[in-house]
Point group: C2
């Protein structure tokens, strides 16, 4: 028989484990269970993500949430000596004149808030990325695709990559050491709503009754209703499946995103991978091209590039009931027709390169402002809507969840940064909309 | 073979026919088709609604949109001499002290904007509604249900009811007279997206191509793709079904709402129905009780009351694929357990009254601010999210649709009222959130 918990957390992705860690650490006496559909933590969309991080956002809220999380992750790797694969290889945004001037107000905002950026002129870029095509002259193909020229770049040095499995394992391990519990291979099927005071009438809660979430109806390793005083929903792309049946809106919708791993075969591609001058690792940073958000990062240990694309155009929001991730497969033709033509136009060394692996996951978009949410409805706390940047804000969001649980108006983020707990709610939402989206 | 149209409108509910009317009237040369799943206009949720109207909103946007529409409907009935069943019987909100004082800022806002309201004190109410229970003393049932006392009321004289079928028939008839076309028994299955400039490449539109909505894929009386320069989506509760597959968010979700028709049998109930002192018709107004939004209106021609309830608690957002309205049936037990106990506590004459009919429809909630939206994405115009008050704003929204089509920054509402066309969009949304919800 499932026991009664103080807190049940649904989902062991980055949001779930970061929340679990901070809840258990700050409330050591409580009984906390994390329920997860897969056999281990981080096996859903967290493990399928590009796992990049940046502090270069236009929204000051995103700046604060990511900056503090990056500092915590750096602390974990450098001071706690836990390898989480963190490499500050940087982000390089490539733009034409028009894009540069449109970005200028955001860049000035970042500088004002202390977010480090470096502007690269054409000469810098010629030196740093000598093989890159910056002008297309009379190329009819480039004209057809309306490819912008590259007139400059913006570099973010406090951006980079980490290993999501290792990060999730750090949080999960610390949570278990502190006495927290996981129930793997256990799927949360529904949130169970009941009256605040049970009267023994059929059909409770009736319209005139107060209600709360009594627990989680689960299937798998645990079968039945797991009851808890507080439920934390950290279900990522699947949150709507649990919220819609009880009529709660979280303003998030999910879309498929794809990653393509390209082998760095040959001298030219290997040379690009090990582009010097950007970072101490002597690696290419994440490069964002000026068209359709096509971007690629070096994965030196695999001698590969991971290539992705901003994927909004005509891309359906997913059908909620289809929660089997294996249904969301990557499309080779999508790479060949939509991504590759852009990539090879700017970096001709990709010509005839080979896709050695590809996979897909789900982005959970907050469709209001592209910022995450953390809100409370009765005894239910919901965290999510991270719009593809959950890992880089995970630590901060876990702390906000803990403050919401403790009913603390102010959250202290890593580094002693104060952040108003209600800012990410919907009822008292007070955030700057994100405009600097990949 | 389906022809090419200038405009195809999806949906012949109030939004669709009001849009059709204003588009055709203001652009007489264009070819406009309205596609409708049912066999006639207004047979979906428009025909199943309570069809009440009010201008008493807290949001100045809602005040303007509804006030102007009510004036137009009054003009139709009184000056054009088309009977649309319009009766200004008024709304009477009953409240306790706490609710009254919470409402005061909204009421003052209404008065400031010229919205007529009358405050009723306890003595007024005793005179107007002598049978009403206003205090529950030591009743344990009232305590269990936490029923507020009635300490006062607010009356809106420019509120009332109309006949939605007759209103829809007016718009549809004028549209046909002007040369507009309907395709009934024709279901819009999908919006067809294509590239702005077709290149003949497989899989268009690719990520780097501009795209537009080429038409509507239909099934039924018309089978195939109906092409148009502009598509107007006025699908009410079903809009998400067409928007999600092309990845467009409209911030609307749907919930079932129910209506119960109670026979006014016996002297007491008939007396309540014909409560004098509120309106020239000598009828009870729509009465809103101070608990759970339970409200009822007189339907004198049926010698009945229609009873409804604010229906948010634990009520699921609907499953999009279930678009057969007949699946959404009214629940007798819901009335008996949730609605009736409240109703009979305030108006004991309902004791042992008989439900003679009941039905259900779908509310399309705008989950951001409870206000409707009218927005344009490429050549697609979307109108909806009326949150249960579409009929009372339908005329104004049809005019905004026309202005968006004509790319006019300012819409002239009935009565010469100017309204900024972009206010109801999402990109440049600029509306006061509605707080005065039933």
């Amino acid at each position: 028989m499932p026991a009664q918990y103080d807190i049940v957390i649904v989902g062991a992705g980055i949001m779930g484990v970061a929340s679990a860690y901070h809840l258990k650490k700050n409330n050591p006496g409580i009984k906390v269970l994390v329920v997860e559909r897969y056999g281990a933590a981080g096996q859903g969309n967290t493990g399928r993500s590009n796992a990049m991080f940046r502090n270069t956002f236009s929204s000051s809220d995103n700046q604060i949430l990511s900056n503090s999380s990056i500092d915590f992750y750096t602390h974990v790797q450098e001071e706690l000596k836990v390898d989480i694969g963190l490499q500050k290889i940087g982000y390089e945004w490539l733009m034409n004149e028009k894009q540069l001037s449109r970005s200028e107000p955001f860049l000035e905002g970042m500088e004002k808030n202390g977010v480090e950026i470096t502007r690269h002129g054409k000469d810098d870029l010629r030196r740093l990325l000598p093989s890159m095509v910056t002008e297309f002259g009379s190329s009819s193909e480039a004209a057809l695709m309306e490819l912008p020229s590259v007139d400059g770049g913006v570099f973010g040095p406090k951006c980079g990559r980490l290993d999501p499995d290792k990060l999730v394992r750090f949080y999960a391990g610390e949570f278990i050491k502190a006495g927290g519990e996981f129930a793997f291979n256990t799927e949360a099927r529904a949130l169970v709503v009941g009256p605040s005071k049970r009267l023994g009438i059929e059909g409770e809660p009736l319209v005139w009754q107060d209600f709360k979430v009594e627990g989680v109806s689960a299937r798998g390793a645990i079968d039945g209703i797991i009851r808890a005083e507080t439920i934390v929903l950290a279900g990522g792309a699947w949150e709507n499946e649990l919220l819609e049946p009880i009529g709660i809106e979280c303003h998030a919708k999910s879309k498929k995103r794809q990653l393509f791993s390209i082998q760095a075969e040959g001298r030219k591609l290997e040379g690009l991978l090990r582009s010097d001058g950007f970072n101490p690792q002597g690696l290419l940073p994440l490069v964002i091209l000026p068209k359709s958000g096509v971007h690629f990062k070096p994965v030196s240990e695999e001698n590969a590039f991971w290539v992705a694309c901003e994927d909004e155009v005509n891309r359906p929001f997913i059908d909620l009931p289809e929660h089997d991730l294996d249904r969301y497969t990557a499309e080779r033709k999508y790479y060949e027709r939509s991504v590759y033509p852009i990539l090879v136009s700017y970096f001709p060394e990709f010509k005839d390169s080979r896709v050695k692996a590809m996979w897909a996951g789900l982005y959970s978009y907050n469709t209001i402002d592209n910022l995450p949410f953390v809100f409370r409805e009765k005894n239910l706390i919901v965290v999510g809507g991270d719009s593809g940047s959950g890992i880089m804000k995970g630590d901060s969001l876990g702390r906000v969840v803990n403050s919401l649980y403790r009913e603390e108006g102010e959250t202290t983020l890593y580094g002693g940064i104060p952040y108003r707990t209600s800012k990410l709610s919907f009822e008292r939402r007070d955030v700057e909309r994100e405009e600097w989206v990949i």
